[in-house]
């Protein structure tokens, strides 16, 4: 197992280097002078050249490349123009919020996806199967940002102002305006309520995909001989499905974890923007409109590295549950 782990980790290193390279070349190929952001027309050419030299822009490409690689790998991404703080600092401030949101969505999506897919497979071709199939395909084809807006419209606006439901959910931010004045219990409730709509809109699209995959995986397992043997032994159907079949059907679903991380992080960018959630995604979008390039570069590097980490985790998990993989 240790050998397998080391091999996978070693495989991830060139990937991270490659990502840093791609980010570097995107910036380098960009038209215009990166220093123009801090230069102003009143400067003499000597001062402007001095500024460029300060940023290392007077050096040839290969020197800059090596320097960028060194800096990126040690976490030195420079200073953000808008926050006037080291970029790494800014990103680390917003990272926990993104992890909270995407973590909740991931757990929710896998729980419901696995459950729905199992029910569909066990009751293949039933009304439930067909109904859920249509529903999942519908949600699967939906842009998450639009789903978020529709949820706001229904559960935040109509529920509160038109239908006067006793419960409705806030549409933006992580906390209410009067958060500071709430009791501890009410603070927790307030935070949870703010979490509901973003999590649901992020999770629903993934749930649909996972349910579709899970249905196929479960259908394949349920036809196998050992399931028939379990039934023949006279085991109750529930034990057969949940203990014998489900465990084996779950193995390929683990690969989905790696597959869905890019989807998840792309989703957080939209959802954080729609719900004004102070996370990495919203910071990234704001940084684009403010032309804060160091922040954009570091943010995308961060997201990509997080995907690599997630894939690594999925690979290791797969090896844990399926010994054949690690002995290959």
């Amino acid at each position: 197992m240790t050998k397998y782990l080391v091999r996978r980790l070693a495989g991830a290193v060139p990937l991270v280097l490659g990502i840093a390279t791609v980010v570097f070349f995107v910036v380098t190929l960009a038209p215009g002078d990166p220093a123009s952001l801090v230069l102003n027309p009143g400067m003499t050419p000597e001062v402007a050249d001095q500024m460029r030299a300060n940023y290392g822009l007077d050096q040839p490409v290969h020197v800059r490349y090596v320097k960028w690689m060194g800096a990126a790998l040690t976490g030195n991404f420079g200073t953000s123009h808008t926050y006037r703080r080291p970029v790494l600092d800014v990103l680390l401030t917003f990272l926990p919020n993104t992890l909270l949101l995407s973590g909740c969505a991931l757990v929710l999506a896998f729980m419901f996806g696995i459950f729905l897919g199992t029910v569909q497979a066990v009751r293949q071709y039933s009304l439930v199967d067909r109904g859920v199939s249509v529903l999942t395909l519908f949600f699967y084809s939906m842009p998450s940002f639009w789903l978020g807006l529709m949820l706001i419209l229904v559960f935040s606006f109509f529920a509160r102002n038109v239908w006067h439901w006793p419960i409705w959910f806030p549409a933006s931010g992580m906390t209410s305006v009067d958060y500071e004045f709430l009791s501890t219990g009410a603070k927790v409730v307030d935070r949870l309520k703010h979490l509901v709509l973003p999590t649901v809109s992020l999770a629903l699209v993934m749930t649909a995909g996972i349910a579709r995959y899970m249905r196929g995986s479960m259908l394949e397992v349920i036809q196998q001989d050992f399931v028939r043997t379990a039934r023949a032994k006279g085991l109750p159907e529930r034990t057969v499905v949940f203990k014998h079949a489900l465990r084996n059907a779950l193995i390929p679903v683990i690969t989905l974890l790696g597959l869905y991380l890019p989807v998840l992080f792309s989703g957080t960018v939209f959802i954080e923007y729609v719900f004004a959630w102070p996370g990495l995604g919203k910071t990234l979008v704001d940084a684009i409109s403010l032309r804060d390039y160091p922040l954009v570069m570091a943010g995308s590097f961060f997201f990509a590295v997080m995907v690599v980490m997630g894939n690594l985790l999925a690979d290791v998990l797969y090896a844990v549950v399926d010994p054949r993989i690690r002995h290959e």
């Binding site: 060139p14 990937l15 490659g18 990502i19 390279t21 791609v22 980010v23 995107v26 910036v27 960009a30 038209p31 395909l137 519908f138 699967y140 084809s141 939906m142 842009p143 940002f145 639009w146 807006l149 529709m150 706001i152 419209l153 606006f157 991380l261 890019p262 989807v263 992080f265 792309s266 960018v269 939209f270 923007y273 729609v274 990234l284 979008v285 940084a287 684009i288 409109s289 032309r291 390039y293 954009v296 570069m297 943010g299 995308s300 997201f303 990509a304 995907v307 690599v308 894939n311």
Partner: protein, 388 residues
């Protein structure tokens, strides 16, 4: 072929029995109707829908249709599309009836059996018709849309009007007709989807096949590059690139295509790896064919099935992604209408004008859903295990 010959050929086929029913002359007035009556609802329905729909477009306002000929290029193109489609629908139905309504001689190639299997999947065929209908609608948009999509109306009296008979889906914050904007938005979104996937499929297929067939260091270099690009969440890579360049339709399309090809390359490489060991490739090699001829003439055509499935599903993904970029304000730039921009416009007026975001979103969902259904149908049709 003589009539007797056709009879035996048809009798030998495994398909449904031939029933020439109804009135063949019906094809002169209602192309597709005889086929529909004969039970070929897919092709018959499509022909009939195209015929009736486009005839309505042309006859609804004949003078406008005529004057469009002297109008701008896209209006002239729309007229041309209408005329050509009407002719094609009519001619096809008429010739088909003359041949005898019913399935022709069943083909035996891989593509024929795939087409037959696909045609049995009613949901997928219906979805394919929706897709074609959307493209047709997008092409004839200048003739169908009731208003100019970019012209601002009366900002005092016509701003944010609710859906009504005049403005089918209401008006937006600049008093522009939402329905017209949806139609023109379809052009932008669906063209970007098609072109971007075209770029991705071409690049991915060629590079994937080269990597798979040549192996060695070529394979390593291409696949390491593919791994790196796949590790990026596609949206984040797009954001990074668009952030440092100027956003615009051309850039978005190219970049969407350039970020999708690694997936195709992976699929093709996998296919080629298994194909290259097969006898027909060995035979081609033994005949002394060059490696490029083997790659382009023997390997790629045989690896195309899964690529087509992935491409169909990829168009849906790409349309969502383009809408997402436009939604974030870094995709298609105003005043050009795009579904993503329209959802974003509606975001700011969500509580007092719900129709802005809602209908644009429905358009995205309908399109993407259709592409996904077609893709699923193609996958099932290609998979011999699911063929009866």
């Amino acid at each position: 072929m003589s009539d007797a010959g056709r009879e035996t050929a048809l009798a030998a086929g495994p398909e449904r029995p031939v029933r020439v029913r109804g009135w063949p002359w019906l094809s002169h007035v209602l192309p597709g109707a005889p086929q529909l009556l004969a039970g070929r609802w897919g092709s018959g329905g499509a022909a009939l829908l195209v015929w009736l729909g486009l005839l309505w477009v042309a006859l609804r306002d004949v003078s406008a249709f005529g004057s469009a000929l002297g109008g701008p290029a896209d209006a002239r193109l729309a007229v041309l599309i209408v005329v050509v489609s009407l002719t094609v629908a009519w001619t096809w139905s008429w010739r088909d009836v003359r041949r005898g309504v019913g399935p022709g001689q069943p083909g035996t190639s891989q593509w024929d059996s795939m087409a037959r299997s696909f045609a049995r999947n009613r949901t997928a065929v219906a979805a394919l018709m929706v897709v074609f209908g959307m493209y047709l609608l997008a092409l004839v948009a200048p003739l169908v849309s009731p208003f100019d999509p970019t012209a601002q109306g009366d900002l005092v009296n016509e701003r944010l009007l609710a859906p009504s008979g005049l403005h089918l889906l209401g008006t937006d914050q600049y008093a522009r007709d939402v329905f017209s904007r949806l139609l023109y938005g379809a052009r932008v979104s669906m063209t970007i989807g098609l072109v971007a996937v075209g770029i991705a499929v071409t690049l991915g297929t060629v590079l994937g096949a080269i990597a798979g067939y040549l192996g060695g260091w070529v394979d390593s270099v291409i696949m390491r590059f593919v791994d790196t690009l796949i590790a990026f969440p596609r949206l984040v890579l797009l954001i990074t690139i668009v952030a440092v360049f100027e956003p615009g339709v051309l850039l978005i399309t190219v970049v969407l295509g350039l970020t999708l090809w690694p997936r195709t390359a992976r699929i093709v490489r996998g296919e080629v790896l298994s194909l290259r060991e097969r006898e027909f490739i060995q035979a081609a090699r033994a005949l002394g064919y060059s490696k490029w001829r083997i790659i382009f003439r023997h390997l790629i055509p045989n690896a195309l099935g899964p690529v087509i499935v992935a491409a169909t599903l990829g168009i849906g993904d790409t349309i969502v992604l383009e809408a997402g970029l436009s939604f974030l304000g870094i995709g298609v730039q105003p005043p050009m209408p795009s579904w993503g921009t329209m959802v974003d416009d509606g975001r700011l007026h969500l509580l007092n004008a719900w129709w802005l975001s809602t209908f644009a979103g429905f358009a995205i969902v309908l399109t993407v859903l259709s592409f996904n259904l077609v893709g699923d149908g193609l996958r099932d049709a290609l998979d011999p295990r699911t063929r009866p």
